[in-house]
């Protein structure tokens, strides 16, 4: 057994220095078992991620600087900023955080809706909000279709997909309300989404009663 003369403690044989003060431990013997695994520090660094993030930020700043230099205001460089933001939030983050398929889909569709709103705002400053009245309902209808297919196909995580369908039903119904408040009228898009959501919920209530209500109970803590 080695001893640190400075701290007066004994030091395990697999260490060469005292872990408290860093001084060399004396009376060295042959090393025994390593008590802890040696961790590869380089593995921790996620270098690729850091480089990607750096390139993204650098590109955005560069493009903004060129835009300001040429046009004396930030105009078209906003597109680059928005594109990078969408890529990081809706594609990069779900991959890095290893989201489930369902969560991937959620973020992808939210990205599509955000993109529609951005284009709409850029083209006519939402004077004619087609992104809300037409674009978003079409995206939601597609989303519903994908979730319906996954609910039928995916046996293990069926409960999660069922709840996602219910959330979309609630979201569509809320959008009808928003439409009336904002536009004083509501187009056919949100009605179709809500009706389809209602049919989904009704179907689940009849054909997957136990699993659907079981999942709902858990989520609502009742």
């Amino acid at each position: 057994m080695k001893q640190c003369r400075k701290c007066s403690v004994y030091v395990d044989d697999d260490l060469t220095n005292c872990p408290l003060c860093g001084a060399l431990a004396h009376e060295e013997t042959s090393p025994t078992i390593y008590e802890y695994p040696t961790v590869d520090l380089k593995k921790q660094r996620k270098l690729f991620l850091k480089i990607s993030l750096f390139i993204s930020i650098f590109t955005v700043i560069l493009v903004a600087a060129i835009n300001i230099a040429v046009n004396h205001k930030i105009s078209w460089s906003l597109h680059v900023l928005f594109a990078f933001a969408i890529i990081w939030i809706c594609i990069g983050r779900p991959i890095i955080k290893r989201f489930s398929v369902r969560k991937h889909l959620t973020w992808n569709f939210l990205g599509v809706i955000a993109l529609l709103f951005y284009i709409n705002a850029w083209v006519n400053k939402l004077a004619d909000p087609w992104a809300f009245t037409l674009g978003a309902p079409i995206a939601v209808l597609t989303w519903q279709t994908v979730l319906e297919i996954l609910t039928l196909a995916h046996k293990g995580g069926r409960g999660n997909y069922q709840i996602s369908l219910t959330k979309l039903f609630a979201f569509s119904a809320i959008c009808i309300g928003i439409s009336f408040i904002w536009l004083k009228t509501c187009g056919w898009g949100w009605y179709v989404c809500t009706a389809r959501g209602f049919i989904d919920v009704l179907t689940l209530s009849f054909f997957a009663k136990d699993s659907y209500f079981g999942e709902l109970k858990r989520r609502l803590h009742v």
Binding site: M1, C4, C7, S8, V9, Y10, V11, D12, D14, L15, T16, N17, C18, P19, L20, C21, I33, Y34, E35, Y36, P37, T38, V39, Q44, R98, S100, G156, G157, N160, G214, R218, R219, L220, H221
Partner: protein, 424 residues
Amino acid sequence: MKKAMFDKEWFKLDNAAKIYPAARSSRWNAVFRMSVVLKEEVDPELLQQALDDVIDRFPTYRMTLKKGFFWYYFQFLDHKPKIEKETDYPCKMMRLTGRDYVFRVLYHSHRIAVEVFHSITDGTGNITFLKTLVMRYCELCGAHIENVGDILHYDDDPTPEEVEDSFSRFIDKSKGTLPRKEPAAYQIKGQRERRGILNVTQGRMPFEQLHSVAKSYGCTVNTYLTAALAYALLKRQLYEKRSKKKPIRVQVPINLRKIFGSETLRNFAGYYNTNLTPEEKTFEEVVKELDAQLKEKITPDYCQKFINSNVALEKNPIIKVAPRFLKTFFMNLSFYLVGENLMSCTFSNIGNVVTPKEMYDYIDRFEFVLGPQKYMNNSMTCASYNGVSVVTFSRTSQDPILERDFFKILTEHGIEVTVNSNRR
């Protein structure tokens, strides 16, 4: 399948468990580890078999954490957990994906470690799980254990008392609640390590020496170690010569099972923050002061008020109906305001671990490691087994200031300390 006896495939989180998923951050998610160091190298195949045998005995371990609309909840997982080879720092962040287990069984060389997310259980619950797992492992290695003592046998059925939320059971509103106003405490600051790095320093010492020194100061081993820690913190603050001195508070967990007679394997622990004013004191004075606090303040009445305070918050009708994301925000805020800022360091002592005598041939020692804290840099634990006490410091800062000061106090008192660390 043993889960059938509970008639449902999910559990609500107990009262203490609710804060952990809400307050988690990218650096911290309340993971702690209990491990056992064997005399022989671990056989992974036997360990996997032991885990397969044991897991159904502990229904709350066979769960994953899911997000509900109002609260998080535990849901039963169909697949069995797999053991993993330890390749990283202790108490690595637990990924709460809703698909994976919220505990892991790791092995490396002679060590079997169980790391759990605090929402599942507390120290007492986890040591019960580890003891059952290791006993089964020893049996598979050829040990013939006649009297299992207080260890839960893997073949028995879990009881409803083991999975109950004891906080809700033992609430008594007539006893009142605890005042929560406390000023911020002194904490050792230092350059933080990179995310994911946890420096662990262990000091092993003969329990007899520790016991006799504690006896010479007229206190228990637990009080002695608490006092040594508080004294090290006090000396450090006085050495730093700060203009505004803060009190030294060591947080000591209380096992409420003993006081209320609960058998739950879920969270049922309270805590008490010892308080030391920041002025020059001798070690004897510190021991005397803390001994008085631990004896006089930790009473059944205090514990009852602690439970009432915690449960009252959960049962508040406004909090009850608030959606989860709002609760998360406010719980995070309250964790910052009344959480770690009010204490200088945590000291958790699981005491003397007892196993059947046949297991002494297989086990060298038990260890207990607290994971990284959210705001604090240091925490300390102690576990004793077969005459050896292991004091473990876990640290997210670079310099081992606190452990150096602490072990210096112990060696000055004549205790022979053997240190080890994962930092080389």
